[in-house]
Structure formats: C-alpha cells, structure tokens
Amino acid sequence: MQSSPGMLTKFESKSSRAKGIAFHPKRPWILVSLHSSTIQLWDYRMGTLIDRFEEHDGPVRGIDFHKTQPLFVSGGDDYKIKVWSYQTRRCLFTLNGHLDYIRTVFFHHELPWILSASDDQTIRIWNWQNRSLICTMTGHNHYAMCAQFHPKEDLVVSASLDQSVRVWDISGLRKKHSAPTSMSFEDQIARQNQNQTDMFGNTDAVVKFVLEGHDRGVNWVAFHPTMPLIASAGDDRLVKLWRMSETKAWEVDTCRGHFQNAEGCLFHPHQDLILSCGEDKTIRVWDLNKRTAVQSFKRESDRFWVIAAHPEINLFAAGHDNGVMVFKLERERPASATHLNQLFYITKEKTVKSYDFQKNVESPTLLSLKKLGSPWVTPRTLSYNPAEKSVLVISPADGGTYELVNLPKDGSGAIEPTETKRGSGNSAIFVARNRFAVLNTSSQVIDIKDLSNNITRSFKPPAGTTDIYFGGTGNLLIITPTAVHLYDIQQKKSTAELSVNGVKYVVWSNDGLYAALLSKHNVTIVTKTLEQVSTLHETIRIKSATWDDAGVLLYSTLNHVKYTLLNGDNGIVRTLDQTVYLVRVKGRNVYCLDRSAKPRVLQVDPTEYRFKLALVKRNYEEMLHIIQNSSLVGQSIISYLQKKGYPEIALQFVQDPTTRFDLAIECGNLEVASEMAQELDRPKFWTRLGMEALSHGNHKIVEISYQKLKQFDKLSFLYLATGDHSKLARMAKIAEHRGDFTSRFQNAVYLGEVEDRIQMFKEIDLYPLAYMTAKSHGLDEECQAILEATGLTEEEVTMPTIGAPLSPCKPIVPTHKANWPTKAGSQSVFEKALMGQVEGLSLEDQPAADLMDINDDAADESAAKRNGGLLGEDDEDVAGWDMGEDVIPEVEGDFVNVDSADAGGAGGSEADLWARNSPLAADHVAGGSFESAMQLLSRQVGAVQFAPLKPRFLEIYQASKTYLPASAGLPPLVNYVRRTLDETNPREVLPLIPRDLEHLATDDLQRGYGSMKSNKLEAGINIFRGILHAILVNAVSGEDEVAEAKKLIASASEYVVAMGIELARRELGATDDVAKDPAALKRSLELSAYFTIPKIEVPHRQLTLMSAMQQAYINKNYNSALSFANRILANGGSRMPIERANKMKAQCERNPSDAIEIDFDQHAEFEICAASHTPIYSGDSFEECAFDGSKYHSKFKGGVCRVCQVCEIGKRGSGLKLFA
C-alpha cells in the first residue's frame, strides 16, 4: 500500500492504546480515552497536554464532549459512566447501571441525554440533568459495541457482535420526556419493567430496522450527517453502506480492502467520502458514490481502534496502539499565483478562477481542471505566465504530475482545457517567458522545458531537493531540508547557499529585491542574492506571507496576521478567526484566500508598521503624516520609540506629566521638562531638571530649579557665575531676613561688600573678625569704631600679616541676561517638522549649514518658550519664594513683589514672535529678523546677493509698526500691524506684508505692461524686478495663491529677460553706428530676433515681432522678416500689426533671402540665456535660477541670476515658501 501524499498529520501523541476520541466542537481540543484508564485532554494545535482525568478503573472506551456545556462523558470497563466538568477538572457524578464493559457513550445534540452501549447487551439512555436512567434498549444478543444518536431525527443506531446493526425509534421517549409529567418513582420503575410500553401503550424505544449482512460482529456504526445512510465496520473486514427510507432499510454496497478487523468508520462531514480504520494498521478513504478506495494511509506497527471527525473543520483523529493522530485528508491551501492586480487560484471544485484586486470581483470560471490527477486530490501549486496567459499546475496525484494549460481570454463556465501539456514532476514553475522548470524529487532531476514540453536542458540539483521556487531572472531557488540554494540555470551551478531548515514556501517582495523563506515556525528574509537579512521565530505555525508595497512582510499564522520589517521588528496586525492564506496587501486591505479557496478581504490597520517603517527609513514626513492623522498612541509605541532611541519622538505621544518629564530629560528637551516640572512641582523633578539644565548650560532653568528647591547657596553661586549682581544683592537681603549668617557672609563675599561683612561680624559679636576685615580693607574709621566699641586700643591687637584684600571679579559679559550657547538638545528634525519650521524635509538636500540653522531656530524656540513660560510663571515664582517671604517682615513685602515682576524683565515684542510663529522669510523680515530671513531665502532659492532686496526688506519692516501717541512727554506706543486680524493668541499672530499678490497683479504688473507698451524699458525692467523681489519676500493666504504667485514669477521673469535683450541691443550704439560695424549689425539683428522669444503677453510679443521685422527688413533680411510677419499673422490680435505684417509679407515674398546670416533658427525650439543673450537649444545643458526659473548656459553657474539679481545660478534650494 502506498501512503497517500494528501494525508497530512497535524498532531501525534504517544501513550498507551487509545480506545476513544472526541473533538471539541469549537476549541482545538481533543479528548483521548486510553486503555490504561486515563483520559487525556490535548490541545492539538499547540501540541500540549492540557489535562488528565484518572478516576476510571480499567480501560476507558467511550468518550464524548458536550456540544455546548463545559462537560464531557466517559464510559469504562468499570461499568461506570462518568460525567466530568473540564472547567472544574473533576468528575461531577457517576451513572451506574450497566452490568458489563461500556463501549461507547454519546451526548444527545439537544436533549440532556447520554446514550451508552455496553457488553451487557443493552443500550441505555440517561438523563444527565436528573442523573437517571430513562430508557434501556434490549434486543441485541451479544455485546453492544456502539450506539449513536441520529444527528437530527429521533433515531438511534447500534452495532453488536451479534452481527446485526439495529436502528431504533426513540420518538416515544422524546414525547414522554418533553411532556409535563408528574410520575412517581414507582411509576417509572413500573414502566421500565413493562417491557418498554407505558400505560398508554407507547413504547419508549422500538427497533425500527434490523440490518443484517455482516458475517462477523459489527464494531462501529455511524449515521450520515444529512442523508439517510448508515456505515458500519465489522470483524468481517468489511465496511458496509446501508440506506434507509421511512419504512425499510437495505444494504447498498460493501467497501472491501481492510485485511484485518475493521474497527471504526464514519462519513466525511462535508464530502462524499467514508473513512474507516482497522487492525490492519490502515486508515482508508472510500468514495461514497462509487464505493472505491480513494486513499489509504498505513501505519508501521500500530493497529487503529477508533476514528473520529471534527464536526466543523476538515480534521480527523484516529486512535491506535500507541496514541492518537490528528490529520487532514488533504491540503487546504489553495494553489494560487498573483500577477499585477490579478490573483489566479484553484477552487475546491478544481477550477481556475481569477480575482481582480482593484475591482474586487471574482471572474467566472476560467478553466476546469477536473481531469487533472485524481478527483479527490486538488492541485498543490499554480504558476502563472503572464506573457502566454497560461498556468502550470502541479497535482500530487500519481506521484506528482504537472499540467501546462492556456487560459481562455474570458471564462464562461467550466471550460475543459483544449490543449494541455503534461508530465510527471513534484514541482513546476515558470522561470522565463517560454521556459519552465520541473523538479522530480524521486529521480532528483530538474528539467528546463520549453512551452511545447520539450526538455531544453536538465541538471541534477543539490542532494535532497524537495522543492523549487523562482529565484529571480535566470535563477531558481532550490529548497533542501536544511538549506536553500540559489541556482543559476545557465551556469548550472549553485551561486549562493543559505542554511535554513525546513523551508516550505518562498514569497518574493513586489520589487523583487527580497524574499521571505517560510518554514513551519520561522520566517527568514533574504536578499535576492540569498543573504540573510533577518529571521524570526513563531511558536504558532506560519501559514502564508505577502509583501506590502513599502517592503513590510505581512504573514499569517494559524490565528494572527503579523508583520515584520526588514530589520526583524515585528508585531501583530490583527487576529484571525480562521486560517487564511495571504496573497496581497494594499493599503488597509489584506487580500487572502480562505480554506474553501474563496477570496476574502480583511481590513487591517497598517499604522503601526507604517510608522515603524517610516522610523527605520527616517521618513519624517510620513511619520508626521501618521501622527497627525491617526491615533497612534499607546504604551507599546512609546516604549518602542524609547527602546529604539527616539525619546524625542515618543515625547510627542505622551500626556502623562511624569513620563513626559522623563522623556524630555532623556532627550534634553528642557522646555518640555520645565513645563512638566512646573506641573508636577515636586523637589525630585526640580532636582533632576536643575542637573540636566546645568549640563546644558541653560542657567535660566537652573535658576528656576534652584528657586523652587530653595537652594540659596547654589542660587547665590549661580548668580555669581552669571554675573547677576542685582540678584546677588537680593540674595544677600534674603539671607539677612532669613537670619542665615553664613549665607549672608557668602553673598557679601560674592558681592565684595566689605561693610556688610563687617556689619554682620559685629552683629554676631565677632569683633576680631570684623576688625580684621576692616583693617585689611583699609577702613580705618571702621577699625576705630570697632576698637571703641570693644574698648581696646590698636596696640592691644596683634594682627597677623594681612594679604591684599580680596575682591570678586567684575562681570564683563552680562551672561545672566541670556543663556550661554546651550548644548544642542536632541531636538530632532522630526520635532521641528511637527512645529512646521523645517523647509524641505528631506535630509539629504540640506547642507550642513542648514542643520546649524535648525539649531539656531531651536535656540530661538527655547527662548520663546522661556519667555512664554515666564509670563505665566509669576505666581509660581512667588510661591517658590514662600519661605523667604514668610521670614521677610511685612513692610518689605514689596521687595519680593518687585523681584518677581522684574524676574521676567521686559518681555519679547510681538515682532520677535512673528519670526517664531512663521517659517516665511517675509514674516521674519517684518519682525526685523533680517538675518534669519536671509538664511531662509538662501536655503529656499539660493539667494546670495541681498542688496537688491533691501528696499523690499525695509518696506516690509516699515509696514510692521504703528505709532500710537499715549502720555504726553513719552514716545508713542509701538503697535504691530497684523495680517491675522482676528487672532489674539500670541503664538498665532503674523505680520501684515505690504504689496500682496493681488496688489502686485493689479498695480505693479499693469505698470510694467504700461512701460513695455510705451517702450520705457529701463523703467519696465525695474518694475518687473521689483515684482520678483516683492514675491520673493511675501506671504500668501493659500495653496491656490502659491500657484498664482508662481505664474506671476514666471511671467515677470520672461519680461525681464525680454527687456534685457532689447536693452542690450540698444547698447550696441546708435543705428547708424551699428550699420557700419558688420559684427554689431549681426548681433543687433540677432538680439532683435531673440527679443521675440520670451513668453510675454501676445500684444507685447507683437511689438517685439514688429520691431524684429522692421530691423530685418531694413537690413535686407527678407527671409527673417517674412518669418516674423508670419508669426505676427499667426498671433492675430489687433489690426495695426496685422496690416503691417501683411504688407511686409507681400514685399518679402518677392525675395525671400537674408543678406546677413544670423544665429537664429526660426524653426528650432530654444530658450534665451539671460546672461549672454544667446540661444540655449534643447539638448544643450543649462542652469537655472531656483527662484525665477531663468535659464543660463552652464558656464554661468555660480554667478548671480541676471533676472532677479538675488539668487545664485544653478544653486538648488528647497523651493520658495510663501504659505505655511
């Protein structure tokens, strides 16, 4: 007997002989009753033993789960039926009554009944709710081996060693037990003894049919789940199929094949199959309709005793001499292949269908594969050839066969393949448009075949090859049990090898750069050259995988969809209620095939892995997008970020002040840290903040921390270090109030206040010290006073040698006014991006200087925050001084007040806020921050020469403030003119920028046109440059205006170029002079021709054309003049030029030739170099101005743009920003 390749063992246990098996209807559990008296509860999915129940004495043969309750029942050779709770893990009660071994026990599917069959020749029905015997069926005259309820009707079937199978009608019993009765115990006893007829003549259970046909005892019998069929297995080695109608039952056929006692049989729950097992160590599968053997599975040494089917899924279990095996009859993985937006797959009906991912529609059947292999074996793999629209299908039947079939253009119903090519092989895949590879595992040969099925080459793969997969163009991935080889078909050799155990599937990424090797519990990601990138282990079996477009691998296990990044970071995407096979991920949709080969779409939330991917790729824009658009908050992401070293990003997600504080400290974000410290206001936090701030050199925050902590000594020293004498003086006063002399002394020393020190010494009666201090500082009067006070004379005092008096250094720089250059916190680009302050997000575009900028900005930012913070901090500040205030007498109360008021000092002006509130250069200019504005412009459009922008800068600056006269005698109050009129939040206000886009278009532009028309080109060129400068430093109100601005820039730029050409021509000299110089004349004609090239408004173009035409005509270049005339005519428009052109055309056509050859090809497309005023033909290399787009020959690179006169030619920038 050959073991069928289709039977797949999922679980095996080792134990003594298994006599009974029961599947849990929902959970992956199986109960096994053993000959050794033990009952085991296994999780067959995890392969773990959940529990053991040992109360029976001797072998346990019958076992069954209740369908809904957490109960099971067992029956043993101790004559006992036991009902157990698997929750409380104990036997609930025992039903006694049988007088011999119990063979089977079963729950009824809805009534609280248990059916048992026993060697005492009876079949009994028990009510497990009131724990009573309700029916005893007698009639068999040998051991009753098996008895089962019908799944729907009131029938029982039983098998006995008396060679008969009996069908019992128990409808009477149901009637009696569903009717309300009040029967006494005596009545019940009486009825039982009445030979099963009750007082009304009804019988609880009557034999309906007796089926005779087995020649030996019958071991098992089973009803078909839906049809009126019965299968039985007997010691005559036969499996018999019976049919019954309302009135009779008869034998249909016999399945012959077992060569030892047949022990068990059952109907396949979903397919037309019968399964049986026997002491001949085989499990056999029979075709229900033909009664022929379909498959058989042989075990080496164990006899099978029992077989059971899972009620729902395609799973069976068989008990044998040494345990239990759980198995599937066939692979459920549908064969499939994807190409672009199409999925091709083979249905359970063995037809090929396709599914469109975009339209979400299934195609009709494209092809029927019924004839391929045996009818009960579905194909294993499918390989699709898009060039030929054909599929290559592998079926495991007959030791492996492949079939090459062309798909019809559009399917309509089951289409039998017209032409197929077959052969034997275990694995077959397309390797090229017209080649496929076939592996034959038994002969260990790989054949490369062409489409007419002829072998073109053939080679021996590495030993033990089990499977082959596509390995990239011209390559195969050859799978052996311990390794994967990358095999070059042309060279016939293995080019790379990676040892991975048990690879079963290979999934290529969409870009073909990576492949995932799936084995039972591992995913290994490799590059296309078979270098391992990462690997991960799953305890649950991995079923399938597919790649996201962004390079994230999604894989499914039995119960989850998970993801892994290339670096091995993985996580759960969602749970699954049933196993699916992933085929494609698109956006939030995961497409998969379920076990019945139906396409399904699962919704997933890709946020988490997208975010992690963006993090790995440092794609801040994407991260920003994700953060802003999804609620990606949670401990897991925070700890992930922290773990990965991105505390500053984690900071963005956290609300909890303590965590925020920790993270802020970790990434050195002092602003946030101090905000949180304010909120938490506990010494512990202030201490940490102070330490961190000190290491940053941010002494302002250090000061606040010390104030909060009332660390007077440290505070004094800080003031000394920062040279803040006024505050030191205040510290001295506070010390005085506190009566802390040490502190007072210290402050006096810091301040260099000798008198105070002397005074203090006197106060505490340390006259010697006071005297010495006075003496050493040459304060003779004071000395005298002390001497008088102590009643001593100078002679009585012995003085040590006195050195030079100490005096503290005077501060040179008022460090206390601002922070030192602080240590750059790890404020990421990302964080800046969140604040909308970074221009171009892509890192590589930013030169190092820009990174510096960011730090500058960051410093600005922190300054702003600090000011902002202090504004609100006044009250707390006072609170921080609480202790001092208590000690200070009431009269002096004002002092503290004053202190707190000017602790903030003057605030930042609104103009300073503008620069912080906006990333636009114009707003920085309005705020008077010219330097940062220049940096912005330089970064955005490569501005290098700012002098021409000066009027614009000053214009904006002048428009930013008004002067409100207030109190007489004082300068007027300055107010700041805003464009955000309704805004009062200081963080949102923005300045008014004069000459907005509308003004430019309606005023400046028209003036420019006017000067063009009136031929005032010098003025005109300045007006258009002015427009360019005005746009360069400006702000607009929306994206649509940005587009408008771009148009205006382009247009103004063309005018500047055009006017520049004409002005250059005029500079050649007066007409007469030019006429005398042939070179100048040629140049003059060229320039007049080029003048017509820039894309200016049509009426203006007509002017340039007329001028050029005129020039050409005067100098007898009739051909050129003709072409200009033609262009004038083509442009159409006003009458005057048309008339002239017509006239000119008529004249020139008489003699269409040029007297002077000029460099102007009227037919070619070209642009004019704005510097040299010569053509740049398409194909020539050129440079551009990043702002106005004017073109230059490459040699001008690095110079200043001739058009805007601001930007550097060829310098790239992040693009002009006009709208935040």
Binding site: D894, V898, A901, D902, G904, G905, A906, G907, G908, S909, E910, G928, F930, E931, M934, S938, A943, V944, Q945, F946, A947, K950, F953, L954, E955, Y957, Q958, A959, K961, T962, Y963, L964, P965, A966, S967, A968, G969, L970, P971, P972, L973, N975, Y976, V977, R978, T980, L981, D982, E983, T984, V989, L992, P994, F1196, K1197, G1198, G1199, V1200, E1208, K1211
Partner: protein, 294 residues
Amino acid sequence: MDPYSAEGELINIHNHFHQGQFQEVVDFDTSSFSSENALPAKVLQLRARIALGQAEDVLAEVKGKSEPELEIVGALAELTLGKTDSAVKTAEKLASSAPENVTVQVVGGIVLQASGKPDEALALLSQHQGSLDAVALIVQIQISQNRTDLALKEVTGARRWAQDSLLVNLAESWVGLRVGGEKYQQAFYVFEELAQAPATSSAWSLVSQAVCELHLGRTEEAQAALEQALQKDPENSAAIANLLVLAVVSGQDPKEWTEKLQKVEPQHQLLADLEEKSELFDKAATKYKAKVSA
C-alpha cells in the same frame, strides 16, 4: 471730594490734557479754582505748554521754585530740551525726597521712563495711592516693555475702582491694540468717540483713531483720519509717522512722509529704527555672496 471726579473742578482741564487738547488746557480759566486745586491745575497747564513746545518758557517759570510739583515739571522741561542728565538727577532726587507726591510720581515716572529707566519709573509709580495718571503711565510703560499681560492686569485692577474714567478707557485701548482681535474694534470706538466730537477732537485723538483703523485693515479711513489730524496740526510727528507706515502698507512710496518726518522730528524712533535696520541689513547681507562674482 476727589477733584478729578465728575463734579470736581479739575475734571475738564484734566480731560483736555489727556485728550491732547493742550491749547485748551493752557487757555483754561483756573481763577475760580479752590486753593488746593490751583497747583495741580498749574502743573497741567505747564505740562501742556511743554507739550506745545514751550519748554524753555516753562523752565524759566519754575526756576527757583521749591514746590516738588514745580521742580519735577522743571525736570520734564529739561528732558524735553535734551538735558537728560539734569532732568534725571532732579527726578531721582525728588523720588527719594517726596515719593508720595503724586505729581512727582507721574511726571517723575515720565522723566525716568523717557530716559530709559523703566524699572525706576515703575518703582516710583507703584507708590501711587489711587492715581489714574499713574495707572495709565504704568500701563504704558508695561506695554512698551512688551508685558501686555501685566498691563492688562493693571487696567483690570483700575477698572474696578474707576470705571468710566477717560484714562482707564484710554489705557484699556492701548492694551487692546496689543491684544488684537476684537479689541481693535473696541479701541477704535473709544478713540473715534473722542476724535469725532468737536469738543474733544484733537490731532492726538485723530491719530489714535487712525492707528486703530490701520490695524483693522481699513486703510482708506485711516488715511482720511490722519489727513484730518495734519490739518489740525501740520507738524504732528505721530500723524506723519503713521502716514508713512500707511503709505507702505498700501503699497505706495513713503518718500514724501519720510522726508517730512525727518524735517519735523529727525530723532523719531521710526527713523532711528530704520537706520539701525538698514545697517543690520547691510551687515547681514555681506555674509552671502555668489560663488562666481559676475
């Protein structure tokens, strides 16, 4: 009775002063005033004369007078004449000798603030006992220090005890112009009321009204108000400065006004500021240059 209350003798002259109607203050008939109000009225008149540019006359008039009120007014006159050092000296002296004198507080506060000592000015002013002049001055100083928050606190505090006083309204409007949003319109109402009533209208109130309108984006109305102000006082530097700003805001060439301002008040802060920024620009611009010089 509070002499500044609605029934008090000083109310009108005081209001005239704060509405910028300095000539009316000078011409005010103070002969009927009670003796204790004579001096404050005199001080107001002297201050008005200083505002009208007669600082030298005032200085001569108060010379040798020993009343701290007149002495401090002398300091104000000196300040206006550019003798800052001596003015500050006087003010500081009086601040320590007569810090509870309200005139010393207010005028001294002005002198100190104008000479760049806002902290001392505030310290002096904070000793006031319910003087609205002092409150208004404190507000102005705080605004000029960009402490709108504190100014707002001050105004709100004053409003509690002096609800409908002109000075509180004015001070509130000043703060409002910093806060923005709806406050622009509220400030506008206050100034418009003053500017449009013939009895209270002055170049000063017209300029204030115009400034509000400019902030509200109503450039044409602002233009009209400023021109009206110039008719009243052709040399009003505040009007000229704001006209300059307005010209720039509406996209016109401000040259005319720049020149005029230079003539009227060459040391106006707008000009000084512009000068400074122009230098800043030139300095900042030198950091950049093209790789290839043209």
